[in-house]
Symmetry: C2
């Protein structure tokens, strides 16, 4: 679900049962709603509802114990920089450490001693050190009378400058984060770690027990856990802030906190915008995901080694498909849209009644509609050419990055595409020069399919399509592009990157030639999107957000942005089809579920578990649910109690929670976590990993 993390938009298969609040106000007011900023915690709600007032020290400790993964979350859990996250967050790295002989995803891994810990390819972890409000400086860069393109440029320029100044001064990774759709701009400074080593991973069969059928469902029985360790100067880092392990875990109805990096919410989305997602974005991306799923499934079926090579990506496609199907189902039902319409009508009426607000924001909904219309016109080309649907391979991604890196780094920082800004270059090169293996057989199959998609969607007679295919069939063309390329060799990539623009321009590697060919049209459609869709949407939503602020006060949290947030909630079951769903499952329940399903994959427990069954305390809680407001990106987030102790590890949301892209609801929507007790029980009794369990405290 690490990919779900940053892409989920929303839905609720069972929205239809939630009909009570259609006419509620535009202000968020549901019990435990909110993904709060660490520098603006929900102090009032905590005090009034739970009688709890976190101190600044409590907040700081939690913040600095928390870790940002690319698209996921984690936390330090020992002074020797031991990191806890989900198995599925680390799975990409685990796959890259695997070989045909030693499949760590399937068989699991445990480094009994530190020297057995395996360094992950291209993994970067970040810890948020501090936050600075730079709103005034960013706003000041946009002068009255600027068009939207100029405003976009001006804002990006000043953000780049602020980031560069900060990095130069502090040595910390510095990102300016856009909050409240441009209502606020905060500078986030991170300590970055790039030497990350694998300590422990269970077998995927138990980490993702129940597979696709149980994904996004509850009750669940997953040990979706892995441990990594951060190194500095070749030694385990020493960290001041880490979470202590709770002895008992959380009790029913107890207040808990989730601290992680929700990727994205769109709770301001207008009705027109939601309909566009329903009618265009979700169906189209589902068609692409299903296509990928079928392709990777057939590739995987040809041999066990093929299955290993394609495994993580197949999981990503299935996971994305299930999440989006949930999303779409929510939007295809009547309730979500009716509720959005009622909220929108209420807000627009309130805006109309206030002449100042009307002047500032009255036009914003129509602006959204106009931008969406343009988006609809370029959606397909944008996905194909710029978002790589037509070239869906790692090698093409590398080729494009090399081509753009050479060109962009000849420009001043503020004129570059955002991912080539100075502040991003280190991370980008870290990925670009990764030694992780690339499988040309899989790349060929994927590129052939992608080129076929290009031909279907843009037409065989399109000039660019003809140039890309060069008179060949998609299969044949994919073979002659992937076969001879040398880009799978990291040393060759480094050499090309070092050679700069002239090396790239004279390079005859077929994928570099293709990337050069496609770059013009891809940049062109990206520019249209950035300037006539993204920027107008950003401005319009900023106005709507501003109007909300003005009307309903400061009791609001911003939409998720992949940055650190604090959510609160209770450990609490719910009711489904008139039956109570209890808040816990147990380790014994996993054995029972396996038995019910004839021990067939994906319901087959690994041999280690079967061997340990008699030793295990079977009533140990395995998974639990809470009402905290999370979304994709929260995977791997620690769940802590009032004392800041770790009681669980977020790994999923149930299907009723997928609507949270657009709206929070706690009637049935729940965050799913692995219970702290099960992790320790499994480490000691299934995996005989007592050194690791001891490191978590006794």
């Amino acid at each position: 679900m690490s990919r779900w993390i940053c892409r989920v938009i929303a839905l609720n298969l069972l929205w239809s049962v939630i009909t009570s609040c259609i006419a509620c106000s535009a202000v968020p007011a549901r019990a435990d709603e909110g993904m709060w900023l660490f520098n603006k915690p929900p102090a009032k709600a905590l005090r009034e509802r739970y009688g709890f007032s976190p101190t600044q020290a409590w907040l700081n400790h939690l913040q600095r114990s928390s870790i940002r993964f690319g698209g996921g979350s984690g936390s330090f859990v020992s002074s020797d920089a031991l990191v806890l996250t989900n198995h599925h967050v680390a799975a990409g790295a685990i796959e890259k450490l695997s070989t045909p002989e030693k499949d760590l995803l399937q068989n699991g891994f445990y480094a009994r001693t530190r020297d057995q810990e395996l360094r992950c390819h291209a993994m970067e972890l970040n810890v948020l050190i501090n936050i600075e409000d730079v709103t005034a400086r960013v706003h000041a860069a946009v002068k009255g009378g600027m068009g939207s393109a100029a405003a976009f440029q001006a804002r990006r320029a000043v953000m780049n400058t602020i980031e560069k100044e900060s990095t130069d001064k502090t040595g910390l990774r510095s990102d300016v984060v856009t909050l409240y759709h441009g209502g606020l701009y905060h500078l986030y400074r991170y300590k970055k770690y790039t030497d990350v080593r694998l300590v422990f991973a269970p077998e995927q069969a138990v980490a993702f027990f129940g597979g696709d059928p149980d994904n996004f469902e509850y009750p669940r029985h997953d040990l979706d856990v892995s441990f990594l360790r951060v190194y500095e100067d070749g030694k385990p880092a020493k960290v001041e802030h880490f979470l202590t392990w709770s002895q008992a875990g959380a009790a029913e109805d107890e207040l808990v906190f989730v601290c992680g990096h929700p990727g994205r919410t769109d709770r301001l989305n207008t009705l027109v915008h939601l309909k566009f997602l329903r009618d265009c974005v979700l169906p189209a991306s589902l068609d692409r995901l299903r296509r990928r799923e079928v392709l990777l499934t057939t590739f995987s079926q040809r041999s066990r080694e093929n299955a290993r090579r394609a495994g993580q990506e197949l999981f990503g496609a299935q996971n994305g498909r299930k999440a989006r199907l949930g999303n779409l189902a929510g939007l295809q039902g009547p309730v979500v849209l009716a509720r959005k319409k009622a909220q929108e009508d209420a807000l627009r009426q309130a805006v109309q009644k206030d002449p100042k607000l009307q002047a500032a924001a009255g036009q914003a909904w129509d602006d959204v509609a106009a931008a969406i219309k343009i988006w609809g016109g370029i959606y397909q080309e944008l996905e194909l050419l710029e978002n790589d649907a037509a070239f869906n391979t790692r090698l093409f991604g590398i080729a494009r990055t090399l081509v753009r890196l050479a060109e962009e780094t000849t420009k001043p920082n503020d004129k570059r595409l955002r991912e080539y800004r100075e502040s991003n270059l280190d991370s980008l090169k870290h990925m670009l020069f990764s030694e992780a293996p690339i499988y040309k057989d899989l790349e060929t199959v994927k590129l052939a399919d992608s080129l076929g998609l290009l031909m279907e969607k843009m037409g065989a007679d399109n000039e660019l399509v003809r140039k890309v295919l060069a008179g060949k069939s998609p299969q044949e063309r994919a073979g002659e592009l992937i076969g001879p390329t040398r880009l799978e060799d990291a040393a060759y990539r480094k050499e090309l990157a070092k050679g700069g623009l002239s090396a790239i321009q004279s390079c005859q590697d077929p994928l570099i030639v293709l990337a050069r060919l496609v770059d013009g049209p891809a940049r062109a459609v990206r520019k249209v999107h950035e300037e006539t869709v993204e920027e107008p949407l950003r401005q319009a939503y900023a106005k709507i957000a501003e109007a909300q602020f003005a009307l309903y006060g400061t009791d609001l949290y911003p939409d998720a942005t992949g940055t650190l947030r604090l959510a609160l909630g209770r450990v609490k079951g719910y009711t489904e089809f008139d039956k109570p769903v209890p808040p816990w499952t147990t380790m014994g329940g996993a054995f029972q579920r396996a038995q019910e399903q004839d021990n067939q994959p994906p319901f087959r427990l690994p041999a280690s578990w079967l061997a340990a069954q008699d030793r295990l305390k079977l009533d140990t809680p395995l998974n639990f649910v809470c009402t905290a407001d999370i979304i994709g990106g929260n995977s791997g987030s620690p769940v802590v109690n009032r004392r800041g102790e770790l009681v669980g590890l977020i790994f999923d949301g149930n299907i009723q929670s997928l609507s949270r892209g657009y709206a929070y609801d706690d009637q049935q929507g729940r965050a799913l976590a692995v219970h702290a007790s099960a992790i320790k029980e499994a480490l000691r009794k299934v995996y005989n990993a007592s050194a690791l369990a001891d490191e978590l405290g006794r």
Copy 2:
């Protein structure tokens, strides 16, 4: 592959290696090309190339030993009406005879005595008794000056009349078959059998060994065989014509014949038509098939019983996907279209040079293009509403059939939709009142997905879509349609059908109500398609076919039409990626392939085979290939030698043969057959079915 049978259109993944014939003439001239009529066999070619002249008695015997299945083929192999066909042709019937406790598909079946033979639900077999040329009478019905709609009506009316007269007179099922796209009309009279019983089926694991990965591939190792028996008056029928079992099988390079029911070829298709298939029909149907495949896979993964319920349909979706992917790949490459263009240019030039031909057919290519353009405009609506993409469930199919049956049978025979003509009514009712089980859980999941597709494609605000969904989400609506319907009860269906139009019009069963709602728009788009696409295409292709006749003589066979044809060829291997592919595989090869694939499904041989391994003569040929011109629909066709003895059983074509929808090529394209010797060896030594083996002769 029984579904492949009637739907494959074509392709060749490796067309690109066949570049030699781009400029060849429009006349078919390749060595063993042709799907010949039994009343117009390729006498000259057989005599000249093979020195063989079949007698009328030889032809008659083969014809009356051959059996037409719905979408497949078979043959009589004993005087007690024992029928040989593929496992996959009978699989639908076998599935319907299975229960959760007794899964005959998975476990196989053998009736050791006649009283254990199981009667199949709704199976109808037909044996072609004779053929009469009725061209003059059909042509005479179309008067000069008639528009295309009127011509269509007039032709259908006279065909209905001819069929009805024949049935009344002979008691035989009588179908007028359109050959040469209307160049000839032949009346086919069949003896129909409806009491068909299952005698033997192996486990699906060996019938479809290699599953989707090996499907349409070669070398292969499949025992794709089943035996049925036809009963009359509760006793095994006595048949005069049946095939005797060859002792030795066929030798390499030996002449063989395939006698079966190729479903459809489109070898006259114009360039514009092929491009339409490439750009619209194939991509759209692939999207639907992948969607169905993913849906049925996720349904199947939830439990073993689910997998059993959805198994055949999932197989159909995968099979269709693989066939169409091959098709599309052929059309997306440059060779097929370049060759078609060269042929078309040559034919058009020849037509232009002859004023009479030019007057008759010169316009035909433009007529095709005009009809295709209309087709493109209605394609989506036609698929959704009339071809049931929006209501893809058995129960809706039943509801629609009941609604239309009530209405159509109030009309004169010649005014009816074709499937409700008197000549079809028996077969239609046989299907409609079948007692085969229907699973409401699977039906609900499928209908929800179909209704979601309808909403995506026609838009949530479309008036018909709104009426169909009645303010609910697709999931919820599917539940309230499938939940209370009583149509799964065959007795209720009979009662409704008996009640006629008034019963249907007052019926409140939710699916009947839905079928009534949809029927108007569905009929409307069908009418547009029949009158402005099908009929103009039929007329235009008849003109092109006529011009070909006139220019190149009578040395031509007609496109396949699902009726009995004779193909000829040699048992012959081929070369692929510079390596020879031998014509045979052996039973021992199956064990070897299983071992290479770690004995994991779909490469796991059943326990019966593993237990018999030491007893088997492992060098017994298992599968073989020949050059005969076959296509989907030929599944289950007998392969016979000059003496008319059965040497094999067609079960598939290799991927290079899938282009045969548009063009025959024998460089790599091959028909795949199960060898007669392997069938006997397996019956005796794996299944201990000596009574059955003895019935095939010693």
